[in-house]
Symmetry: C2
Subunit: 138 residues, 2 copies
Amino acid sequence: MHPRIIDTLKRRQLSITDSRKKILELFLERKAALAHADIEQHSGDEFDRVTIYRTLQTFVEKGILHTIPSADNSVKYALCKDACTEGHHHDNHVHFMCDACGITYCLDHVTVPAVQLPPGYQVHQLDLVASGTCIKCQ
Amino acid sequence: MHPRIIDTLKRRQLSITDSRKKILELFLERKAALAHADIEQHSGDEFDRVTIYRTLQTFVEKGILHTIPSADNSVKYALCKDACTEGHHHDNHVHFMCDACGITYCLDHVTVPAVQLPPGYQVHQLDLVASGTCIKCQ
DNA sequence: ACACAAATGCAACTTTGTTGCAAAATAAAT
DNA sequence: ATTTATTTTGCAACAAAGTTGCATTTGTGT
């Protein structure tokens, strides 16, 4: 088991349960964004669907995961960096979705450039999703 | 009826039907992005749910509408500018989603800035969604 | 080991999206 | 203007995705 799992849960005062450990581990080892359906498959009927929904929701609320918007009604989740505060991710990194393999990555080292909005608009969050061909699918 | 409706449909060689006229009119008069559910409500049981799904799909394929990604599993649709070619919108404008009133706008005059991706990634599309407080909700 | 709190699983349900096909509406041809 | 061909619609049935309440189980702190 990945050493960061217990720590991550304890720091948020979350009970340490099998499903939470397993789901966190999935994210830590895959290093890519996962949709609810992906988790359901890879956890092999170990947990109830409802448990997965609730776990993902809790992880987002506690700042362990963040959601990645998509244009096809399939929200994905990805690990927040530790700096994230609870509730949102503030580091505004770019997401990349590969059209070929379908994998979505957080490009942690690419930051979203500033945009100049018309006067009167207050921005709280910026999400930039790039899609195309990833480095493995060239 | 808005004068552009018939023209927009004819140019794409689409049959001119009640549902298509009505749905196009909704977008033209609201000037904001609409989700499937919004359309279902505002067309008042006039059309079958299936017809709305198919109409939206057709409009996206024909370049009349484009989709706006979201992080909450509720894809929205918005009118393409006339310059759009069929299939996608190429003008890469910014989208703004207001947390207060829930309305999503296309900011047609704000373009997505270039981002420098790591070598090996080929970008075909960039989507930038800003969220916060819109000019009416300050 | 015990009591309390929290999380899970189950069942039932709602909402959302899809598919095939007959009926209806639109477009094209005569 | 009427007929024929094509396209679109509505219905029904279904599949998938997400939600809620509640009893049972699991985890936490003493």
